[in-house]
Amino acid sequence: MTSIFSSLPIAHEDDAFGLIRLAKADTHPSKTSLNAGVYRDEEGNPWVLPVVKEVKNILHADPTVNHEYLPIRGNARFLTGARKLVLGAAEALNPAVVSIQTVAGTGANHMAAILLVHALQPKSVWFSNPTWLNHASIWEKADKNINQKWYPYYNPADRRFDFRGMVKTLEEESQPGDVVVLHACAHNPTGLDPTPDQWKAIADLCIRLKLFPLFDSAYQGFASGDLERDSWAIKHFLGEDGLELGIAQSFSKNFGLYAERVGALHIRTTSADVASNVGILLQQVSRSEFSTPPAYGATIVATVLNDDALFAKWQLDLKTMSSRIAQMRQGLYDELIRLKTPGKWDHILTQIGMFSYIGVTAAQAILLKEQYHIYLLTTGRVALTGLTWENVGYVASSIDAVVRQTATEAIPSYIIT
């Protein structure tokens, strides 16, 4: 009997998860994982935020806590807090903005894609070159036929954000109704963010060209330690009256609740009526995929966001994480300068967030893995959370060694053509 499964193509393992597997299996004493996008403390261990621990204990001891279904839209207190956080207190009260709880940032991006494909029928969706690995797959699942286009973002020549390239390409090639995916802060994978003036110009461009901005906000508070600073770009766009936009919001990193899948999608429309109808469309997508979102993680976040004392503690935890990463950036940079490693390295200090395109080539990344047991993506993306005072010297000297060992590559592998 022929199996119905016989004709299937072989599915390929996700690169990032594949590397995690390899790193895990490597037992060499110098093994250093700089690949996965999760925070690690100064011992290199996972870190449950103290405020999260405190709330978990509260919930554990509370006899009224149960596991009832959430409404399709999600935990109401969670959504209130999430809105205030990313939209600002005033805009959070705007009935023209509709919000729904999602399965983390992936779920929010996925739901946004389905909504926008249905409502806008955009010819193209624009991603930064490069962008988070999963953006393209998410949009491909939402619409096989949509054009996926790339706006210049990373300039390998000077290792800076290619603002002019981005603007030029969108001016010349975008069409009204296209969706443009923007990283709210701490760009993944480069760590390069536009300046406030550049953000203003990008907003003007979206309005002029009638593009639909979709923000991916996965690092608010985690990037700089400052919740306002990390949402500045979003709030600037919201300040443009009449500009419709979306925000895919994740609490994986800033609450360390990765596996609990806590997220929200916010869509700003032009009126309460439109927002209400969009809300029902979004609920229909949820219902048709998983019915109702997972409760536990959202309860933890809701508890923190709606309590002043806990909120203040959370801000301290954000400072802990963001400043440790900033210190590691400084530490890595200082070592590379001390070793007089060929090349320029100051971008390590000007980039922000969990990741850095430190400027190693694919060949160098492979050497780092094979000779030095240091794991980073072949795109050159380094997860700085993997650095500690104990290993930063080893990482720097290994980078120094492979840079000297290899000839300069003409075209780095991370450029997607």
Partner: protein
Amino acid sequence: MDSTQYPPSVFNAATYIAPDSIFKVTKDYLADTDPRKVNVGAGTYRDENGKPWILPSVRMAKEVVANAGHEYSPILGLKLFRDRTVELAFQGMKALKEDRIASCQSLSGTGALLLAGLALKKAESGITEVLITEPTWSNHELLFSSMGYNVTKLPYYKAGAFDFRSYIDALKSAPSGAAVILHTCAHNPTGCDPSQEQWKEIAAVMKKKTMFPVFDSAYLGFNSGVVYDDAWAIRYFVDELGFEASVCLSFAKSMGLYGERVGVVTFVASSSELAQTMVSILENVQRATVSTPPIYGANIAATVLGTPEIAKQWAQDLITMSSRVKGMRQKLFDALVRLQTPGDWSHIVKQTGMFGYTGISSAQIVYLQDKYHVYMANTSRISIAGLNDSNVEYFAKALDDAVRSVK
């Protein structure tokens, strides 16, 4: 702010879609302040005091996992959870011994069905038709039609019972190669399950027409009190007849973990290699929808299933829930007999599982809500779990009045 000043909304063309009515029932119930109110609407278990029930076994497991971390689970979910669930559902089956089962953690039963549908597409199975029962769980049609499947309803219910003749005839006329959504036990919403003989006939038709069974298994253990007994139909199709199949599992009801979204999707393939390939397909479709599934509930469930002392307690908890529900069926029936309520109400005790179709009219349903603050699905489905010793007489009297006063 005058919206006409700005370009029109890009969302203007989207058409209004009425939300799933069962959620409104819960919403209205919660808003009702009448002390006599009765909720027999949504399918969640309630204890003898009408309250949500944290299973003792779940409490025990929560102690164990209290300090668990929150690192990303693998895309396929918690392996311990997947493996123990597969061992539970496929206990004693050849397919398990022969390693022919692909599994992936899902967002409860809904998520399992979604992954099954997406994976069958990605696997280029050639399946385009999905057959569901009429009536069925309110979300089956939306779920599969949203994925682009052509959904056909097969008549299932008549006069309080499973309409086997109509169902089997419709099945025989349906397209070959279709996927057939089967309720493994405790059919939602009717409570009417095929007998073993009827299952055998259904299987024979499906074999002849190379149809693909999708077992929606949301009530294993909750129905009879014993998981193994409730899984009979799966065993028959997969073990005895050698069907390839998908079995979609949920612990929402059987562990009371509703909101934590705890489930597993499985495929039984004809070979171990194909099962492995299906695992990679499942991983692929999970990555682009949710990336990785939520861990909290899976951790609890894995601990329940894998800790002998807690698993023993869980077996007891299943008996507690299923027998309380069965007891309420009997009490409701007895009350209606005592009241001499017009009509035959024996279907209440013949039906099984959490739900039953009372068979009353829309007008009677509205009357019950307005006069008696009784909340039920607009299909006449009631959740027996919402009844208890404090409200069953009240409910029976209300039903009696509705049947006598309204047509």
